[in-house]
Assembly symmetry: C2
Homo-oligomer: 244 residues x 2
Amino acid sequence: MSMTDQSPLGRKLSAFVALSDAELAVLAGLHQRRRVFVAGRDLVHQGQSKQAAYILASGWVCSYKIQPDGSRQIVDFQIPGDFLGLRSVLLRTSDHSFEPIVDIEAAEVLASDLLKAFADTPRLATAIFWAASRDEAMVVEHLVGVGRRDSDARMAHFLLELGSRLALVGIGSKDGYDCPLTQYHLADALGLSAVHVNRVLRQLRERGLVTFRDGHVSFDDRDRLAELAEFDSTYLDHEGPLLK
Amino acid sequence: MSMTDQSPLGRKLSAFVALSDAELAVLAGLHQRRRVFVAGRDLVHQGQSKQAAYILASGWVCSYKIQPDGSRQIVDFQIPGDFLGLRSVLLRTSDHSFEPIVDIEAAEVLASDLLKAFADTPRLATAIFWAASRDEAMVVEHLVGVGRRDSDARMAHFLLELGSRLALVGIGSKDGYDCPLTQYHLADALGLSAVHVNRVLRQLRERGLVTFRDGHVSFDDRDRLAELAEFDSTYLDHEGPLLK
DNA sequence: CGCGAAGGCTGACTTCCATCAGTTCCGTAT
DNA sequence: ATACGGAACTGATGGAAGTCAGCCTTCGCG
């Protein structure tokens, strides 16, 4: 199976374990029940129970929690190749919501099919658990950012992390990437107000570090940006395949 | 096996699945290699690789990340019955550190033993994954708190959550619990300065909501405290066993 | 066409929390 | 017995980010 044939998930997992053709075939099998969802209408809503998991094939999604007072915290963004709702399979009710940011395509995966795939191809299972662990590490890093970084470093770190993640599934380049997020999304993710997000972006642009404009992020000076963010990507753990 | 014989982990898992004697025996088997660690000396250090997982038997631990600038963010506290480092088994290097807050006892669990237990007793495996999912949900809720709650609500929420968790493993009562954390721990966990933590605690005490003094938390008015915190415990998911 | 909604952008004012610079209290090691 | 270190505690001051209020542009649509 050639590189270009691979799903984004296949591509991502290949960075961790070298998957055999048989394993790739099982993975492809999980992509059967393809569904389309429109931007803005929640896929899963907080408090809902017993929903399937999804593998995102194209488009962007965010997972978030709404507070009783109406404010929301975006926990993470999902990009092609990411799982949605893998964790909440075991908890009775989903503790958060998923909103497609643009129109998306996703493969619905039934818990039973997933478990069968795990039993048949343990290496694939390991790879998927690796991906889940990495997602959790990103949430932790997100928490650190919100708790301990000022708004500039927070934004810088966020934009760099996103760039790294996209690169891993073959989207974007060293210099930047297309990004459909609004300043409101950034605000809800970073724990800032939309007004302040705007000011921070302006500042970073004027300092010649990054430009986020018209749905595109350009790294104007990646090194200085990484320095400001104190960006250390080891938690993303992609140094080439571990298991041959 | 009677209730009082159970390890804290057994007790916690029993709230999710009713475990058979055979399953409880396997679980007890995982507690073989008992070790003791002294307060303050890190169990696992950020950047370290290939360490075992642990089941905490007694005492308190915190997991945290240190920033290059020296500030630290505590990600979570572990109490008896919690796993340490379950997630980082798959990532090459641990992305965070574990520090015992008091002297602790913990069972060291080798990855191979854990996998064998999973293979032999799938229901136990499910229960442990449930616990892992719940831990992740707590980190998410923590992120929400740091991102979207002001310092009072944040503290209130934290103290209530901890009370709920302790109750699940049979520690503390409806009215309060013993708690060895210092105000510095609270500050590092909640993304506040120690000075401000002190003020917030004073305020909550003066308003007659909670008293945290001399290593003991007392809920003076649990209802009003929960209201201030907008505490909704569904993410903790303990409404009695799901699987009979 | 023109209206409204969504997103981006900005200035003025306010608030929450960090920082600095201490003091007090206690337990323990010299 | 006293000196020391860790933790709790406090007042004064400043700064980072929130809130409020408003303007401009673009784009879809009645």
